[in-house]
């Protein structure tokens, strides 16, 4: 037991704990024994709360069942910023670990004081402190141990207790409710007096509301709310509010204009500036002499396509404060943005997180919350729940940017790369609330006194960048140049979606690695390994290849393809082998994946995240493309924006390659880029034709075959 002290002496508190040092912000021990652990990270369907509960239980020395994870709240919990970028386990994990270890130490000290023994002699198991015959529980000590104290920077960062909890596939805490069909999502909340709200979005992004024929709503039991071109209804009955919006569509007159680019020439749109030039790696000199190989890749705009359209709830309270419920990824950022938009003091706003369907980035959650705030202003004291339609979700949520990239390499005599040049064009990858100095909430742009919606920006390089995320190849090339070009003017609202630019950059880099291997007569696996010194990377690549039977003779019309990357250059390693059958159609049969995510908190959770990420990426890669004409987005339902179905979902197997002693790395975004490249490389292996522009549909393959024949 004395060992603990030595292990844990560490200089500084984890960042999130240092920023929210008071222990009672994180932990409340109830006299009944339940322990609330509050975190600033939110459940997005990824199982993060279960993983954090496992860590908390381990540090506290209690069973998982004793820990409860209340929803994040701006007034009561720690502020841990966004839940994004696969950073939750990296940021919140150590903070929860240290906070709980310190709580445990304080309880241990109290038990020791009571019994007049050395704290080192007190042990904790299943929530019970004991020393010899004597025992006392967390609940019994709850009243006397003060947690309204700051975490001690010299105190423990972990109890050093390694129970079996972390590293075990604990069942998700939230799934029993969801599988039983119990109320669990923000849509299911029914607060006292709650009303239903619906917004009529403009017919197109540039449209301005000229006239409303209010008489058309006379027969409907709803209240009309209008502010400039923002228009909606509030009523007691949801179905009635839905009918009212239908009526309103015909009762409004709008001025519209064409503002969108040509969907069939996105490359020209992305390349015709103005741009911000992002110099990631500047080559030291001119490219060497030698054989030069080049290629251009692209991907279209993509939609989040969460299964649940966005929803928000707001209530203006009698004391002038505002309560908001949202499935936002960043409740503190949302609070600040609402305060800015309405010119009010953020202290008067409380935002609580409520779960919704899977969230893969900055979707319509914040916008729906702001819609609710605007509609609820007209009915003070009553909560208004705003539910978006599927069509609005697909057409008005922020999109993921289209991108295009040029790659050029010079290869030497041996076929190895002697020089590499990469240029990528994209819109920015974030316009989260408040990020660009403006609220960044959709309805803000439609108000009588509108907020502008500036071109999206990119996160800074320290948090992984956007356009150039994973733009630097992991391979040991002697001479490299990498440049991003972020578009500074655009009518299309884009923001963060799972993996940001990494999906496209890895697709391009890894497709090109295969093209180089083929052009120089090398095996794609051998070619990668030849250029790869990183030992963890090599084991992951080799593991995936081994499991997939790389190198075995393939059936006719079947191809294997490889894709590999280390997410954000310092995150999880992921190698994917895709098996594709390409005859009359492209059939993705199987994805064989190996990952190294550092220390694994919940193995099944990691597998589930990787399987899901890879399956979703297969959907993006094989099927998805946001469609628009010059005026409006036209892909606004599941027929015009098809996604992967059960019959198309590949079998996915995930092998976790562990490197002992390495910190935990997020898993949710590691597989997207490698999956895209693996599929494209497998198609090329199966039919000898390369598709460089996503999505990789049957039409795209036919076009590529025709182009190759020309």
């Amino acid at each position: 037991m004395t060992v603990q002290r030595e292990i844990v002496a560490a200089p500084a508190l984890p960042k999130d704990l240092a920023a929210n040092p008071v222990l009672s912000r994180w932990v409340t021990v109830h006299s009944g024994g339940t322990i609330d652990v509050r975190v600033g990270k939110v459940e997005l369907g990824q199982g993060i709360l279960t993983a954090l509960a496992q860590i908390a239980a381990e540090e506290l020395g209690v069973d998982l069942e004793q820990v409860r994870m209340p929803p994040a709240n701006t007034a009561h919990g720690p502020n841990e910023g966004q839940t994004s970028g696969s950073m939750s386990i990296i940021h919140s994990g150590p903070a929860v670990r240290a906070a709980c270890a310190q709580v445990r130490a304080r309880f241990t000290a109290e038990a020791a004081r009571r019994w007049d023994v050395d704290p080192d002699l007190v042990t904790v198991r299943q929530g019970l402190f004991s020393c010899g015959e004597r025992a006392v529980s967390y609940g019994e000590l709850a009243g006397v141990v003060d947690l309204d104290v700051a975490a001690d920077p010299g105190g423990p960062l972990t109890s050093g207790d390694r129970s079996v909890l972390v590293g075990m596939s604990a069942a998700r805490l939230d799934l029993p409710d969801k599988i039983a069909g119990r109320p669990r999502y923000i849509h299911d909340l029914a607060l006292p007096g709650q009303l239903s709200g619906r917004v009529l979005r403009p017919p197109s992004p540039g449209a301005r509301l000229l006239r409303v024929d209010e008489s058309r709503l006379a027969d409907l039991d709803v209240r009309l709310v209008r502010d400039g071109s923002f228009i909606g209804v509030v009523g007691a009955d949801e179905a009635e509010a839905m009918r009212a919006v239908q009526v309103l569509r015909d009762a409004t007159t709008w001025e519209e204009s064409d503002s969108l680019p040509d969907e069939d020439d996105l490359s020209a749109f992305l390349r015709s500036g103005p741009h911000e030039t992002i110099e990631v790696l500047t080559p030291e000199g001119p490219e060497p002499e030698g054989r030069t190989i080049r290629a251009t890749y692209s991907r279209p705009f993509l939609a989040h396509g969460s299964m649940a359209p966005s929803c928000g709830i707001a209530r203006w309270n009698d004391d002038g404060t505002l309560s908001v419920w949202s499935h936002s990824q960043g409740i503190h950022g949302l609070r600040a943005a609402i305060a800015q938009a309405l010119d009010m003091d953020a202290e008067r706003i409380e935002v609580e997180h409520a779960e919704n369907a899977g969230c893969y980035g900055h979707n319509g959650a914040d916008d729906a919350a702001f819609d609710a705030v605007l509609l609820a202003r007209d009915v003070p004291g009553l909560p208004v729940q705003v539910q978006w339609s599927r069509q609005d979700e697909l057409a008005w949520s922020p999109l993921a940017s289209a991108m295009t990239a040029d790659v050029r390499a010079v290869v030497g005599e041996s076929g190895s790369v002697s020089s590499w040049r990469y240029d990528v064009w994209s819109q920015g990858h974030t316009s989260r609330p408040g990020y660009l100095g403006v609220p960044g909430l959709l309805a803000g742009a439609h108000l009588e006194r509108p907020w502008s919606y500036p071109a999206p920006g990119d996160p800074p390089a320290v948090v992984g960048a956007g356009t150039v995320r994973n733009g630097v190849p992991i391979y040991d090339f002697p001479d490299r140049g990498v440049t991003g070009h972020r578009l500074l003017e655009t009518p299309i609202r884009t923001s963060a979606m799972r993996a940001l630019g990494a999906y496209m950059n890895v697709f391009a880099i890894e497709s090109f690695m295969d093209e180089l291997a083929l052009a120089t007569g090398a095996d794609p696996l051998e070619y990668r390994l030849r250029h790869l010194g990183d030992a963890r990377g090599r084991s992951v690549l080799e593991a995936a290849a081994r499991s997939a039977g790389w190198g075995n003779p393939a059936e006719e019309g079947v191809g294997l393809g490889l894709g590999f990357a280390r997410y954000k250059d310092k995150g999880a390693y992921c190698a994917v082998v895709a098996e594709v059958e390409a005859e009359s159609d492209i059939r993705l049969r199987r994805l064989t994946i190996a990952v190294d995510v550092g220390r694994v908190v919940n193995p099944d959770g990691v597998r589930n995240q990787i399987e899901g990420g890879a399956t979703q990426a297969a959907s993006w890669t094989l099927k998805e493309r946001v469609r628009f004409d010059r005026r409006r987005i036209t892909s606004d339902d599941w027929e015009s924006y098809p996604i992967l179905r059960f019959s198309e979902a590949p079998e996915v197997s995930v092998e976790i390659v562990e490197t002992p002693g390495t910190p935990s790395l997020g898993a949710g975004e590691a597989a997207q880029g490698p999956t895209a490249a693996a599929i494209a490389n497998a198609v090329a292996a199966a039919i000898g034709v390369r598709v460089r522009d996503l999505p990789l549909t049957a039409d795209a393959v036919v076009a590529a075959i025709e182009a190759a024949e020309d």
């Binding site: 599988i179 999502y185 849509h187 009918r243 299964m307 019959s647």
Partner: protein, 164 residues
């Protein structure tokens, strides 16, 4: 404009007063407080709202109340008449075959209906039935494995090849 409708929901006779065009989904959720059927698209295209009506799987978002009069409706909450979970639900839980779980109510109703009518449904039949359900989190294969397990009476021999 409201009208009274009588139907049987999860074994109970209920009377709902609403506009005839109100969807069965909204009546179930808002009038009866049954939140299990979820709103995913309102267009009959995703399956999140699936319920059984007279034994068949229907999109409740696409079923106006005027067409539900006198019918027998079973939602995800009512699949297992007693306490506890239907075997499809239990199998999904055992396999942790969900991420956000928003799609699973409709998937469960669909799969349970299939197995209740065809206990020997093979993988192909399961996939074909579930092709009407969308899932954005990518748990399709886990779901198929779970449903195949739910099918087995006694010891089950379906083992996922990547089982931990």
């Amino acid at each position: 404009m409201t009208q009274a409708f009588e139907l049987t929901v999860n074994g109970r006779r209920v009377r709902i007063e609403t506009h005839p065009d109100t969807s069965l989904l909204h009546a179930l959720r808002n009038e009866l407080g049954l939140k299990g059927p979820r709103f995913g698209c309102g267009l009959g295209l995703c399956g999140a709202c699936f319920v059984q009506m007279d034994g068949k799987v229907v999109a409740s978002c696409d079923t106006p109340m005027w067409s539900a009069e006198g019918r027998t409706v079973v939602t995800v909450e009512g699949l297992e008449p007693g306490e506890g979970l239907h075997r499809v639900q239990q199998a999904l839980l055992d396999e942790q075959a969900a991420q956000c779980g928003f799609c699973v109510s409709g998937i469960i109703v669909n799969a349970a209906t299939l197995l209740d009518t065809n206990p020997d449904a093979d993988e192909e039949a399961i996939v074909e039935a579930l092709d009407r359900n969308l899932c954005r989190c990518g748990v399709q294969r886990r779901v198929v494995r779970a449903v195949m397990k739910a099918r087995c009476e006694g010891p089950c021999h379906v083992t996922p090849e990547d089982a931990s």
